[in-house]
């Protein structure tokens, strides 16, 4: 038998030169023992629960968050959440992430600008609480391969850096990259209109020269700075009333997994979603009686 012969030959050679490396006795995979629960995206459930403990009173008693249409967010499978972005240090991202985790028990991964990662401490903390660099491949993996909820603000830094007089006027929705990712991953886009973030940290004016020197995308002087001083004012939001409205999910009738999608179709869909959020915002603002009481 030829196979038997080879085995004998191999073992003879192995006896001649005792080498452990290539054929260890146990062919099982060694997984190792992890000491933390940080996942491949940098998210740690332990850190999340710490943030939940601090953030929950803030969510309930400070911002007094109210959701409408929460049932439209899928309870299983991937979905791309798209919202308007506002406030010098945007409070909408943590509110949406915490809210969905609290109400639906699902983790949300928030896509953020590359800039976050270059900044010491901030980048690491953001990553531990569920922030992910907004790379198309990251979004695709989360949505398609892992079926997670992903939150994205297509306005990017243009949203939070706008002045207070432009409040609730949506900026350009990037180049529509988020539509292309949702199409490729074959997941629905769920638009969310957020009212309240604009007033929680309104920008009075910006210091572009200083921002450039420090190496940040924008450096705002906010109402919070005037009222609370430079340090507390940089971290504490004003207690504006938060209202979030989840709009009907949008599914695209295009095959998933394609390399490229029609650019005109992408831009059209992006503009459509932008308009829907904008219209919803106008409607919510028309009904709002007070910034602080809702």
């Amino acid at each position: 038998m030829s196979t038997g012969k080879t085995v004998v030959e191999k073992s003879q050679r192995a006896a001649l030169i005792p080498l452990p490396s290539t054929t260890p006795p146990d062919p099982k995979v060694r997984n190792g023992t992890r000491l933390s629960d940080v996942d491949e995206w940098g998210r740690s459930e332990h850190m999340r629960s710490l943030v939940r403990q601090v953030g929950d009173p803030m969510y309930r008693w400070w911002f007094r968050v109210e959701w409408e249409g929460l049932e439209k967010i899928p309870t299983t499978g991937g979905a791309l959440l798209v919202a308007n972005h506002a406030g010098a240090i945007p409070s909408d991202a943590p509110v949406i992430m915490h809210g969905i985790e609290r109400e639906l028990g699902r983790p949300v991964y928030g896509l953020a600008d590359y800039f976050f990662r270059t900044f010491p401490l901030v980048g690491t903390l953001w990553s531990r609480v569920g922030g992910v660099t907004a790379h198309p491949d990251n979004a695709f993996r989360l949505l398609r391969d892992q079926g997670q909820l992903v939150l994205v603000f297509p306005e990017g830094t243009k949203g939070p850096s706008k002045s207070f007089q432009d409040r609730y006027r949506l900026r350009r929705f990037g180049r529509g990259g988020f539509i292309e990712i949702a199409m490729r991953a074959g997941v629905p886009v769920v638009p969310i209109a957020v009212v309240g973030a604009e007033e929680s940290m309104p920008i009075l004016f910006r210091l572009p020269g200083v921002a450039k020197a420090v190496g940040v995308p924008y450096l705002p002087v906010t109402l919070n700075h005037l009222l609370l001083g430079p340090i507390v004012g940089s971290v504490l939001h004003l207690p504006s009333k938060f209202k979030l409205h989840v709009l009907d999910p949008i599914t695209f009738d295009v095959p998933a997994g394609q390399e490229r999608y029609s650019r005109s179709r992408i831009m059209e869909e992006a503009e459509n979603i932008r308009q829907r959020i904008q219209d919803q915002l106008w409607e919510m603002l028309a009904q709002r009686r007070s910034v602080w009481l809702g």
Partner: protein, 348 residues
Amino acid sequence: MGRRVLITGLDTFWGGRMAQALESNPDIDVLVGLGTSEPKVQLERTEFVRTDQVYSVLTRLVRATQVDTIVHLFLVTDSTQMSRRKLHEVNVIGSMNLFAACGSAGSSIRHVIVKSSSLVYGSSAYDPTWFREEMPHSRPARNYVERSLIEVETFVRDFAEDNPHTLVTVLRFANVLGTDIATPMTFNLSRPLVPSIAGFDPLVQFVEEDDVIRSLEFVTRNEVPGLYNVAGDGRIPWSEVAAMCDRKLLGLPPFATRAAAAGLVRLGLIMFPPEMDSLLRFGRGVDTRRIKEAGFNFRYTTAGAVESFVQALRLRRTVGTSEPHYQYESDVESFFRHSPAVIRPSDR
């Protein structure tokens, strides 16, 4: 007729290991190893040829031995090993000559395997969490090891294009940890204070040294062409790696990091090559689905590789260094095999 294999860098850690792994393959008839110095491991049937580092004799050697497979392992991925100029000679000029020899008219070469590194992806804030093989580096390479490896890979691509009938395999390995390997990474993880950059806790990925050899052996044996990432599953934070090694983190300032590290490097407390600066800020992850689909099974995950390293470290601390000691078995075996004093069954 069996295969005839040529290995470069026989005197390096990987060259020796790979030769040992291939020696036990009965399909390989001839095994030739090139090196600038004597091989450091015990080899049974590999023939050693001393050459200079730029392989000026290679064309003649290939023609004379009619080798069909070249395993190119002599690529330096650690900038502390040699000067910038020498590294350029070894990586860029060496590979250039190697591919020139492989591609010469009437060449007998059927398969070329190159041991590259995931350094070609670089490490920056703009990176995806997982690099796939076809993704380019996000930002232009900022240190010379990365640049030289990227240049080597362009030679590989050109060679593959010019020689469509030759199989070309490139394996890009993540940072290696294991029982025996010594790199700046293992140096740092075996000292009491592990360097880190304050405010950054990057997710890193490792591959165990056995998996390195096994994957190289896998693509050589099965003649698998293509470009593959090779790394253990999962990414773990640098702080956790240090904790697994029972080490404390030493936070270097996030600004002027290399200047701050220079003093500690001079004192011999840490090793901090430029490629480690960006790695300890942003980490790096590579997608290994492609090599798994090709049929390769990893024995270690990233955490498993760290564990393997830690256990070897603990063992070394207790029993001292595991220098290759006198192995009477091999001498006795060699006596049984070759001595005229032994009466063999075939002689009777």
